[in-house]
Amino acid sequence: MNLNNDIVLAAIERRFPGAIASHSTPYGMLTLETTREHIQDMLHFVKEDPELQVGFLTTLNAVHYPNDVGRELCIVYHLHSMVHNFRFRIKVFFPIADPVIPSATSIWPTANWMERQEYDFFGVQFAGHPDLRRILNVDDLDVFPLRKEYRMEDGTRTDKDDRFFGRDGHEGREFD
């Protein structure tokens, strides 16, 4: 049987009623949002469920939305059911003041370095991770460089600010 967005959404909703905060399908890929309380069980469920068989964690990464108060950090899991050739993603939002999320290392060993990388760059604390150290940056770095407050360029430069990247508060509007 082939999986599609509706089947997967229904299966997860049946098992975790009310745990899906929202869902959408940007560019055709099912995207679910859940909470820190449910994420570990949900990942475990989709992996072990005989119908879904989502056995492969493609990648996981963090995103920082500084203006979204209480939901500043986001972890995105890209999951893949190779048996059904079906991909979807799960997002979890949480506040930057309490950047803790359960680790997926007990479900997929491959999450180990992926999580270390996101800890390194965003300071996300993966609870239950066996070895949460920096991985690409030097050990004594005291910032999390991919957070949005750290600018790429010298802060005194005025020729490289957000306006020149189309971010003047009007981004996303329709052009004509």
Partner: protein, 401 residues
């Protein structure tokens, strides 16, 4: 379980074990990574890898670069097959702006990507030969790689970090010299490659060194996120070109070779067969290369012909808009993956409508599967660990981003 307790008991014996620092710069690691090995004589008890020596913060830099300027960053991921990375990135943006390419552009991309795959696999397999003590094959295969680089030079002007193709298609059509080089390569490469193959494939010394070195089971490989030849060597026939075809790969007929034991020999054999399959794809793509445009009509992203810029108002406007990044970008998020030399290379792009990505995450196959290395070499000889590393084809650029 018993093996582990044996090691942990030895671990506590003072003076029995030695610590060996392999790397960061060591000729046998083919790149800059460090492994602190705990050795019991010549056997490895544990390995502690340290990575990040050539980390260049591509994900951060990408947040301050317009889309066309991110292509050169992708060059420097797996620099043995830059064109595949470039095309993967172009396709990610094309997915975001929902741009359909003409068939000719697709086929040209396939030709370039398969040439890159051959170059990548050639280097890897030739280096496995070197690490078993067979240097000769390497010197010959490097010449073949040079011929592939000559072709890249005709298509884009550079050889290693190619910045090949553009968002919306290819930068220029294949030149007459490219056609000559390509036909010449197709005619002479297979025989030379088989010669190289015959040096190693049934070579007693080579087989003794590689069979059983650094094995991994299919379950373990999947749990560790393996993709590409390393996963296929373990017996899983996962190939992005077949599972989620892109760039008209579904038009071509080719087989996915798989191994059985996931050891160094299987990884070598899978790559060898993939080179032959790439030749098959190349032959089909070249023979059926459609006529027509080599890029899509996306003036918002694709630079107009230079003579037109000087003579036509419309072209001048678009030229200015592309260069000055005055192009509207749709809001959205896409994940696109391609079968790179080492496996599934993924791009997760979040656009907020700004001219640069809001967030760009690279799924780098090397980074993900290299974490299995300590487990794969535990209990093996040091010389096997060196072979295991070269057969995994860990490329520092892709590892560290």
């Amino acid at each position: 379980m018993q093996v582990q307790s044996y090691f942990s008991s030895l671990d506590s014996l003072d003076g029995e074990l030695s610590t060996l620092n392999l790397g960061p710069t060591h000729p046998a690691t083919h790149g800059i990574f460090q492994n602190v090995l705990k050795m019991d004589g010549e056997k490895i008890v544990s390995a502690q890898p340290t990575i990040g020596y050539i980390h260049r913060a591509f994900e951060k830099i990408a947040e301050r670069r317009p889309y066309n300027q991110i292509t050169p960053l992708t060059d420097r991921l797996n620099y043995c097959s830059s064109p595949i990375n470039n095309m993967g990135w172009h396709m990610t943006v094309e997915k975001l702006i929902q741009c359909e390419l003409p068939k000719r552009a697709d086929y040209m991309r396939v030709i370039v990507m398969e040439l890159a795959r051959i170059a990548d696999h050639l280097v890897c397999n030739a280096v496995i030969g070197v690490d078993t003590g067979a240097l000769t094959g390497f010197t010959y295969m490097f010449q073949e790689r040079e011929r592939i680089y000559d072709m890249f030079e005709e298509v884009c002007g550079s050889r290693l970090t190619t910045n090949i193709g553009r968002i919306g298609g290819m930068e220029r059509d294949f030149t007459p010299r490219f056609h000559k080089l390509f036909r010449d390569f197709m005619a002479t490469f297979p025989a030379r490659f088989e010669e190289f193959n015959n040096l190693l494939e049934r070579n007693r010394i080579f087989m003794d060194r590689t069979i059983g070195a650094g094995p991994i089971t299919a379950e373990k490989a999947l749990a560790y996120g393996f993709t590409g030849p390393n996963l296929r060597a373990a017996g899983v026939d996962y190939d992005v070109r077949v599972m989620s075809p892109y760039s008209s790969y579904s038009d071509f007929e080719f087989d996915i070779p798989v191994g059985k034991d996931g050891d160094t020999y299987d990884r070598f054999m899978v790559r060898q067969e993939e080179i032959r399959q790439s030749m098959r794809i190349l032959r089909q793509a070249y023979e059926n290369l459609p006529e027509g445009a080599y890029h899509a009509e996306v003036p918002d992203f694709y630079l107009p012909e230079k003579p037109d810029v000087y003579t036509k108002m419309e072209a001048l406007i678009y030229h200015f808009k592309v260069v000055m990044q005055e192009t509207p970008i749709p809001v959205g998020e896409v994940y696109h993956c391609v079968e790179a030399g080492n496996g599934e290379l993924g791009f997760y792009l979040i656009s907020d409508g700004g001219r640069s990505p809001y967030r760009l995450h690279f799924r780098r196959p090397c980074f993900i599967y290299y974490q299995a290395y300590p487990e794969m070499v535990r209990g093996s000889m040091l010389s096997d660990a060196i072979l295991t590393m070269s057969s995994m084809n860990v490329i520092a650029g892709e590892l560290d981003a």
